[in-house]
């Protein structure tokens, strides 16, 4: 009997694994836009991972003899005012920008989820207090709050991440709160309690995962936002430190060169920035479908 079940269980489990993979592939194939966005994301990831080792020039190396060169075969995206290769800088910046956005979103995801889940599940005064605190953050002009935080803490990558995370927390918390709230008394929640789960387990393992699909859409929007936010901070001089290449700074600095005709300085980083944000935003629906088992057939 035991042997039989072991044999049975194994293929079942194996089937389940490939089922997930098949599901992902199906989601990607089903909607061309989603498929496209994931392909672009893969491209971004690859350039973040191996970009620094394949770029043709050292992104920090200046070259006084080749400043402000328009795009050419040697410098695909041209060079900047110090003769640095814009293409190399754009590619190398991918990693930092992804790190900033992913880290910021991860932080706000975790904290926002915990806060929102507790508020939504517990209700009562905890909910009231938490909601007021979140309202307070939301009542701030968010970009200015981020500016204030970075200005106060100093403009390091970590602080940019913290600032971005803080201003995003309310969005996650509210979303999770609402999602948890509607499932607080759902049948499967009660069933989970009947199965001997403590409140914490019910919340963490049964209710919360069901809030994931809508959160994925939020995550994708926020990933894009985080990059734009960092770029905005750079624009007003609160970005990461030079000479580190970062898209926002490159666009912000390059912006001053547009009118003088050196359009490539802002255009290419801007294009990459836009491409990344675009990719993130488009990925939302796909991500949601992937984490949503109800979309499986």
């Amino acid at each position: 009997m035991t042997d039989v079940t072991v044999e049975n269980a194994t293929p079942a489990r194996a089937k389940k694994g490939s089922g997930t993979l098949r599901h992902i592939l199906w989601v990607l194939r089903e909607n061309p836009v989603t498929g496209l966005s994931f392909a672009m994301f893969a491209g971004l990831l690859i350039s973040a991972l191996i970009g620094p080792s394949i770029v043709p020039y050292d992104p920090l190396a200046t070259d006084a003899s080749a400043t402000l060169q328009p795009p050419s075969a040697a410098h695909w995206f041209g060079t900047d005012n110090l003769g640095r290769d814009v293409f190399s800088r754009v590619i190398v910046a991918t990693r930092l920008d992804l790190v900033i956005s992913v880290a910021a979103v991860a932080l706000s995801f975790v904290f926002g989820s915990v806060l929102g889940a507790i508020a939504g599940y517990r209700g009562g005064w905890i909910d009231t207090v938490l909601s007021r605190v979140l309202d307070t953050i939301m009542a701030f002009p968010l970009f200015v709050l981020a500016m204030g935080i970075v200005a106060a803490l100093g403009n390091s990558v970590a602080n940019i991440i913290y600032a971005t995370a803080i201003i995003n927390i309310p969005f996650y918390a509210r979303l999770v709160r609402a999602e948890v709230n509607i499932r607080r008394d759902a049948g499967f929640t009660q069933a989970a309690k009947l199965a001997g789960n403590s409140d914490t387990r019910v919340l963490a393992l049964h209710i919360f995962p069901n809030a994931l699909p809508p959160m994925m859409v939020q995550v994708s929007l926020n990933l894009g936002w985080a990059i734009l936010n960092a770029a905005g901070l750079s624009f007003i001089g609160l970005g990461v430190r030079p000479p580190t290449p970062e898209w926002g700074i490159m666009v912000a600095e390059g912006a001053n060169y547009i009118v003088s005709g050196e359009w490539w300085l802002a255009l290419f980083p801007g294009l990459w920035l836009m491409l990344a944000v675009f990719t993130f935003n488009l990925m939302g629906d796909g991500l949601r479908d992937i984490v949503d088992p109800r979309r499986r057939s």
Binding site: M1, T2, T5, V6, N8, A9, A12, K15, K16, G19, E30, A186, G187, F188, Q190, A191, A192, K193, L194, A195, G196, N197, S198, D199, H206, P209, N210, P293, R294, R296, S297
Partner: protein
């Protein structure tokens, strides 16, 4: 008046074309009341949408003819169809509250139809709308004109929907499960009203339902649908007493009614003898002065007021009553998901009410008191496969792990008749009956002594309900469990339970052995309930 020939409807979906209706034909004479019955998904609704040409964008009539009073419904221009809808043919849908625009005054919604079909002008629209409301016997129609749907009860909403449907004196009325979601007493009142109006105006009607009782009570002729086809049609009496098609027979058999045993709901070939269950004298659960008061926004809500009863070991107790009478609240307290405001819950003499519900998860008795939920879909975590759902209580409350756990899950699946290959499916990939089985398997996983069944079959088709009820009866006999069976279907309670409790407004108004309470009801409310339930005029299947 209406003649349909070989109608076929198909939908384009991601998985290719789905044919929902595959060549049905029927005729409807002037003044005739036709019933369409069949299980869920058999194409009843789609047929009616096709007649009205209001199919979803991905659906289309593939073939066949539908002619209404000489107009070819399939070929008619959209303009003409629009003119037809509401004026010649009207529809009423299930879930009346959702069928009304939530942010528009009901009077205006009636006016919209009147004005659209030029039955009213700006000046007299209001007056005609009020007249339409009065026609459906809404009290104080003048005042209701300005009401929004959320300010009305379910029954009143359905009357408004009727008023909209009848506003332009249509010749044909299509009712798609008009009473689902309504209380049994309200259901009767609404159906009686509609029937009266339809008859009085000499209209034809089509009643779509899966309740044979309802159809036989309010229709002159019934067609039975299965998988997009009509399998049988005829007068109710004839059809019900001598069903020709096996499917019809199955349907007729499965319909709960007076004087049949639970086994007789099943198709004949599946009726194995039912092992008797033993009711001991020892009380398993004694409920004493149980009270639950919610702190609502507008003052306290007394959901359960001071109820007491006893459930003995092996006994099945039915709990009936109208929506909102406190059935679910009571069961939630018994199963220790909810703390009572006051009162005692003596489980084998131990007062469970002393333990806060929040801590009960760690109590060894947790596994002994389990529950099957009203809505199987809602009670399964959409992210868990059947296997995970069934294994959950075992993992939490037993030491079974790995292969032993898998074996136990499979055993439970086979006990509840769930095919093994369904264990790795997610709830949305299961049918209603299958979901119900998963719910039951999960509830009995820890071999509880006491099982609460909160309307476990309410969302199921009759034939599936029949199987589920029999399964429960078998399990009871096999495992010697006690049941508290919550339901509003008195016929079901009669078949499954030994004892019955009738609740109203949070109080127990009547209680006693099933036969006594049901056959010679003493309390007027019990009588009202019994009368409202549609009775299937089938002579007890002799065979």
């Amino acid at each position: 008046m209406l003649s349909i020939k070989d109608l076929q409807v198909a939908f384009r979906t991601r998985k290719g074309e789905v044919s929902a209706v595959r060549g049905i034909s029927f005729e409807l004479a002037r003044g005739e009341r036709l019933g369409i019955v069949g299980e869920s998904g058999s194409g009843k609704s789609v047929t009616s949408y096709a007649l009205m040409r209001i199919l979803d964008a991905n659906g289309r009539i593939k073939a066949g003819d539908a002619v209404y009073s000489g107009i070819d419904l399939r070929k008619a221009a959209e303009r003409d169809m629009r003119d037809l809808r509401g004026r010649e043919i009207s529809m009423i849908f299930q879930n009346p509250r959702a069928a009304l625009n939530p942010i528009r005054k009901v009077g205006h919604q009636i006016e919209d139809v009147l004005r659209q079909h030029a039955r009213a002008t700006r000046q007299d629209a209001r007056q005609k709308a009020i007249a339409a409301l009065e026609a459906v016997k809404i009290r104080d129609a003048e005042a209701r004109y300005d009401a929004y749907p959320f300010e009305l009860s379910g029954g009143m909403c359905q009357r408004v929907v009727c008023a909209i449907a009848l506003a332009c004196d249509p010749k044909l009325m299509i009712m798609d499960e008009p009473t689902t979601g309504l209380d049994i007493t309200t259901q009767k009142a609404v159906m009686d009203l509609v029937d009266e109006l339809v008859t009085a105006r000499g209209m034809s009607s089509i009643l779509i339902t899966h309740d044979l009782g309802l159809a036989s009570e309010y229709c002159d002729r019934i067609v039975v649908m299965k998988d997009g086809q009509i399998v049988e049609e005829g007068a109710p009496q004839l059809l019900l007493s001598a069903p020709q098609h096996p499917y019809t027979r199955k349907l007729v058999d499965a319909t709960p009614r007076r004087g049949v045993t639970i086994r007789e709901l099943l198709p004949q070939e599946e009726r194995r003898p039912l092992a008797p269950h033993v009711v001991a004298e020892t009380p398993l659960l004694e409920v004493r002065n149980l009270t639950k008061t919610y702190q609502g926004k507008s003052g306290p809500v007394h959901a359960v007021r001071d109820i007491s009863f006893t459930i003995r070991e092996g006994q099945s107790v039915g709990l009936v009553g109208e929506s909102g009478c406190g059935k679910s609240t009571t069961s939630a307290m018994l199963v220790r998901l909810l703390d009572p405001t006051s009162g005692q819950l003596l489980y084998r003499g131990e007062d469970l009410a002393q333990m806060p519900a929040a801590d009960f998860a760690r109590n060894p008795l947790r596994g002994k008191i389990q529950m099957v939920f009203q809505d199987a879909t809602d009670s399964l975590n959409p992210r868990h496969t059947s296997r995970q759902s069934i294994a959950e209580p075992l993992k939490r409350m037993t030491d079974l792990r790995g292969a032993a756990l898998a074996a136990r899950v499979e055993e439970l699946a086979s006990v509840t008749g769930l095919p093994e290959h369904l264990l790795d499916r997610f709830p949305h990939q299961l049918s209603g009956g299958q979901k119900a089985r998963v719910g039951i398997a999960r509830a009995i996983a820890t071999e509880p002594d006491f099982l609460i069944l909160d309307e476990p079959t309410a969302a199921l088709d009759v034939s599936i309900q029949a199987v589920a009820l029999n399964l429960l009866a078998d399990l009871r006999a096999r495992l010697g469990m006690s049941y508290l069976f919550v339901s509003h279907d008195l016929n079901v309670v009669r078949m499954l339970c030994d004892h019955v409790i009738v609740m109203k407004g949070g109080e127990i108004v009547d209680a006693g052995p099933v036969e006594q309470v049901m056959d010679s009801p003493s309390h007027p409310y019990t009588r009202e309930l019994l009368e409202a339930a549609p009775q299937v005029p089938i002579p007890t299947a002799a065979a």
